[in-house]
């Protein structure tokens, strides 16, 4: 059974205006799925549907056997699907890091001793053990975002949804989050990342390209980024390595349809 199954899901904020139309996909254990699309393509709406912040108006989302159609299952769904948003300032609520992380487990009614263990686990997972007693407001953007992720990890989710969670971070912060994501995947947590950075999407197992609420293209990074013209129509472009590769090909240096930096260098070494 897949960790998450999205079956023909639709959603409207207003009558007669569908924001999400017939979207279907599934996410497996430890999988890394990137969702890309132009501003207003429905990415964030889709993210909010995944953990029941919004309820599908058509279709069904199944998480660990619980269906979004079943009202009483909402709690179980949210326990399994954790969300981290763009701005950690909107997600951190306590004045001390450990209190902030304890907030979620406390609400689930988890015993006190176990909450302590979960805080340890969550802080260790994001490499922020030293900041247990720190005040979130005194941390850097990348550190705050790691605390926001820790707050979600303390709920032991099976799926982590990152809605442009690295957009406000510096390269160092983005790297930190990427490392956390890699670690989580090794532990079997699936990660769904919504991003505008094609260089991030290129690292995913699977990419979904949204346009006007529908999946316009889906596949491996290689499959998706081979459709350059279609991507252009959808307001997207190749990762920078792909753009460079293309310009090289146009000038007779044939490196093929590579999309990542690693692929590009490998192709270039063959020419040396």
């Amino acid at each position: 059974m897949s960790l998450l199954e999205v079956k023909n899901v639709s959603f409207s904020y207003e009558k007669n205006k569908t924001t999400i139309k017939g979207v279907s996909f599934s996410v497996e254990k430890g999988e890394f799925v990137a969702i890309i699309g132009h501003n207003g393509s429905g990415k964030s709406t889709l993210a909010k549907l995944l953990n029941g912040l919004l309820k599908p108006s058509g279709g069904e989302i199944i998480v660990g056997g619980y269906s979004s159609k079943d009202k009483s299952a909402l709690f179980e769904i949210r326990k399994r699907v954790g969300m981290v948003f763009q701005n950690p300032d909107n997600q951190l609520i306590a004045s001390i890091v450990e209190d902030d992380i304890a907030f979620g487990p406390e609400n689930l009614g988890i015993p006190r001793e176990e909450i302590g263990e979960r805080i340890d686990f969550a802080l260790r997972s994001v490499g922020m053990e030293k900041f247990r007693k720190a005040s979130p407001e005194r941390l850097s953007g990348g550190q705050k975002q790691r605390i926001a992720i820790a707050g979600v990890l303390a709920l032991k989710p099976h799926i982590l949804v990152l809605d442009e969670s690295t957009a406000m971070l510096d390269p160092q912060g983005r790297k930190e989050i990427a490392e956390v994501v890699d670690d989580l995947r090794k532990q079997g947590v699936a990660v769904i990342a919504i991003t505008h950075y094609m260089d991030e999407a290129v690292k995913a197992d699977k990419i979904l390209v949204l346009d006007r609420g529908e999946i316009a293209i889906s596949g491996t990074p290689k499959e998706v980024f081979s459709q350059k013209e279609r991507l252009g129509e959808l307001g997207l472009e190749l990762p920078l390595a792909g753009i460079i590769a293309e310009k090289l090909c146009a000038r007779g240096v044939n490196v093929g349809g590579v999309v990542s930096e690693t692929e590009l260098t490998e192709a270039l070494w063959k020419l040396l």
Binding site: G37, H38, N39, G40, Q86, S140, G141, G142, E164, A167, M168, L169, D170, P171, Q172, G173, H196, M198, G232, G235, L236, E237, L240, A241, I243, I244, K247, L248, R251, G252, V253, E261, L264, T265, L268, W269, L271, L272
Partner: protein
């Protein structure tokens, strides 16, 4: 207007010893008219504190250096900050969050009415039209719309029109492309280049995006711990291995590829823009074994 900063130091919460935090120490920098100047460095390196000085959002502290911008002496008590802020426009991160008025027109006109209270409604209208049009938006179609009904890219254009309407000579942009989709990003950066040629004289960009800096900036300053570690062209900065290691900066893709080629014994000498890099690489490859 040239920007001349000498030995600038700034301490937050200066009067409360236990909380005092020195965000800038001994920063000196010249930015000439006509530059697209990058301000780079990690989070917390002092970039924002620095640029907020340039239009007087943060005042120069006593005995803490000096800033001269054209005819404005920012250490002078009589400095006309209102006029300075019209001449040095600042666009913050996610500027569309600051849109507030009911229509695009009102939003863009707001700044102008503050800077130039004597203008007639007709003059205001013509200035607003000019500012909105130059951002690539259709003024007549958009002027009566609510900013909240626009797309992300359009909203950012409205936000920059609100800065341009005051006719600044220097434009300071904090992460101008963050949060835009790839196409929106490219279009917005191209708009900036166009502005640079026709409308504003100098652009200062604060960014973490080294690809952007390599592609668009004439020069950049690397901040770390409230000091400037180095100033130079993207090529000078990104080929300085010691500097990159010390400052913890990422390399733009062109520089990281150049570096890898160097290790393999192939010299690719370019200005680190994408086209410049491709050009030099082709030359290096064709001059070699291919």
């Amino acid at each position: 207007m040239e920007i001349i900063v000498k030995d600038l130091t700034f301490t937050y919460s200066k009067k409360t010893k236990s909380l005092a935090f020195r965000a800038l120490s001994g920063v000196s920098l010249n930015v000439k008219e006509g530059e697209i100047f990058g301000i780079i460095g990690k989070t917390g390196s002092g970039k924002s504190t620095f640029v907020q000085h340039l239009n007087g959002l943060i005042k120069v502290q006593k005995d803490s250096g000096s800033i001269i911008i054209g005819d404005f002496d920012l250490t002078d008590k009589k400095c006309d900050y209102k006029l300075l802020r019209a001449k040095v426009g600042m666009m913050f991160q996610y500027p569309e969050h600051q849109l507030f008025a009911e229509t695009v027109y009102d939003d863009v006109a707001f700044a102008l009415k503050n800077f130039a209270p004597d203008l007639t409604e007709k003059e205001i209208e013509s200035r607003v039209r000019e500012a909105v049009t130059i951002t690539g938006l259709n003024y007549d179609l958009i002027k009566e719309k609510s900013p909240f009904d626009l797309s992300g890219g359009q909203r950012r254009r409205v936000a920059i029109a609100g800065v341009l309407v005051a006719k600044p000579e220097i434009l300071i942009l904090d992460e101008p492309a963050a949060g835009l989709d790839p196409k929106g990003k490219r279009e917005f950066l191209e708009l900036l280049l166009r502005l640079k040629n026709d409308f504003v004289k100098t652009i200062i960009i604060v960014s973490h995006d080294m690809n952007l800096v390599a592609e668009y900036c004439t020069r950049a300053a690397v901040f770390m711990g409230g000091e400037i570690l180095a100033t130079g062209t993207p090529k000078e900065i990104f080929s300085d291995e010691m500097l990159i290691e010390k400052s913890g900066l990422d390399l733009p893709l062109t520089a990281s590829l150049t570096e890898k080629f160097k290790v393999k014994g192939v010299a690719v000498d370019s200005d680190l823009t994408v086209d410049g890099f491709v050009e030099s690489l082709c030359r290096a490859l064709k001059g070699g074994k291919i």
